[in-house]
């Protein structure tokens, strides 16, 4: 069995979230940019904005999707993939980033790993879910405190270019970089 077959969800029905206005078109643009730039492994823990991205990764035979129990595992998995010469990305929401911090600091930063983190930036202007708002308020300052460079994706036309730039910096610096998936990009009823 290939990694792809192992990773595939046993029941396709459970892969689709109830209808939410997450942009399938822009998720596809993000996914295509990751693939074009050589990303072959994606670790993920879902949240609403990521449903299409995770489905695309699950459906693509060239991409190994690793479904996590907690986001911090993804840092270790990306470290191992990097040592083995495979480009990877982590897909998570900002609370997933908050849950992964020790791994980021004592794994990816201590060991100089080019870690591409795609973080859906919930809880900022326009957020309706009250529970997202604290995480949204601290994400950028925590990233800055960790000295992790931040790139925001808001304009679909510039997604491919920016993901390429983010990966370039991650690899030249051997350090984590954060790409924030914003509401303007991911949510159609913004």
């Amino acid at each position: 069995m290939s990694n792809h077959e192992i990773a595939k969800s046993p029941d396709p029905k459970i892969r689709y979230h109830p209808a939410v206005p997450v942009s399938a078109a822009n998720s596809q643009i993000v996914f295509d940019a990751l693939k074009t730039n050589g990303v072959r492994m994606m670790s993920a823990l879902p949240e609403t904005w990521l449903v299409h991205l995770i489905r695309l990764a699950d459906d693509d035979p060239d991409v190994t999707l690793v479904r996590l129990a907690k986001e911090e595992e993804g840092v270790g998995i990306s470290m191992g993939a990097h040592f083995a010469g495979v480009k990877s990305a982590m897909l998570m929401q900002n609370h997933g980033f908050l849950a992964a911090i020790n791994g980021i600091v004592s794994g990816a930063q201590l060991y100089r790993i080019p870690l591409l983190m795609l973080i859906s930036d919930r809880g900022t202007f326009g957020e309706r879910d009250p529970w997202q708002t604290e995480g949204g308020a601290v994400t950028e300052s925590v990233l800055s405190a960790l000295r992790i460079p931040i790139m925001r994706l808001d304009d679909p036309a510039r997604v491919a270019h920016r993901i390429k730039q983010a990966l370039t910096l991650a690899y030249s610096s051997n350090k984590p970089v954060a790409v924030l998936l914003t509401r303007d990009l991911m949510w159609e009823d913004a």
Partner: protein, 190 residues
């Protein structure tokens, strides 16, 4: 039955590690393996507690033809029990997950863990879905089970009950980054 020292267990399988990518946890295990003799195929994950098994998973999925051995600890595994379910989900056939269970957070002074009183890690692994699990309480059992795991071609978690003793010091003259880049070069050549 004579109780088992982890250093003796490592010595007993050392010659069987030549072909494997080996990932250890921090502190005592890392220092003990280095005291037997460092090799370019050994990576010591200092400090990122819990993530050794995740690093092993990332390598195993990225390089399915390379055997991977993880030397984990009870405290470290308890910090990433979710990672055990992720390992079980992808079941990399090339991964052997050894847990040295000394019922203690030995590297920070010997704080007892729950494996001394109630938690049985091999059963946790089995219930998480790891297809092969084994226990060892003596060197002979450990060598037998480790050898069997190497020829099984199936993800195995091997829990070895060991004495809570270790080296006097954990810092060695092998730099963290030196180890990391050497290991990456080794893996990329395989």
């Amino acid at each position: 039955m004579p109780p088992m020292k982890r250093l003796d267990a490592l010595r007993a399988v050392y010659d069987r590690l030549g072909d494997s990518a080996v990932v250890t946890i921090m502190g005592a295990v890392a220092a003990e393996l280095q005291s037997i003799g460092h090799r370019p195929n050994f990576f010591y994950l200092q400090h990122a507690m819990g993530l050794a098994s995740s690093v092993g998973l990332g390598i195993a999925l990225s390089k399915p033809a390379v055997p991977v051995v993880v030397f984990d600890g009870d405290g470290s595994l308890l910090m990433n029990l979710g990672g055990l379910s992720t390992l079980a989900r992808y079941k990399p056939a090339n991964l052997i997950h050894v847990v040295f269970d000394n019922e203690s957070l030995l590297s920070v002074g010997g704080f007892p863990t729950a494996t001394g009183t109630c938690t049985r890690l091999a059963e946790v692994a089995a219930a998480s879905g790891v297809p092969r699990t084994a226990c060892a309480t003596t060197i002979d059992e450990f060598v037998t089970e480790f050898t069997a795991a190497q020829s099984a071609g199936e993800l195995t978690t091997l829990v070895a009950k060991v004495d809570a003793v270790g080296p006097a010091a954990f810092v060695t003259d092998l730099g963290l980054l030196e180890n990391r880049f050497q290991f990456q070069r080794y893996l990329q050549a395989r």
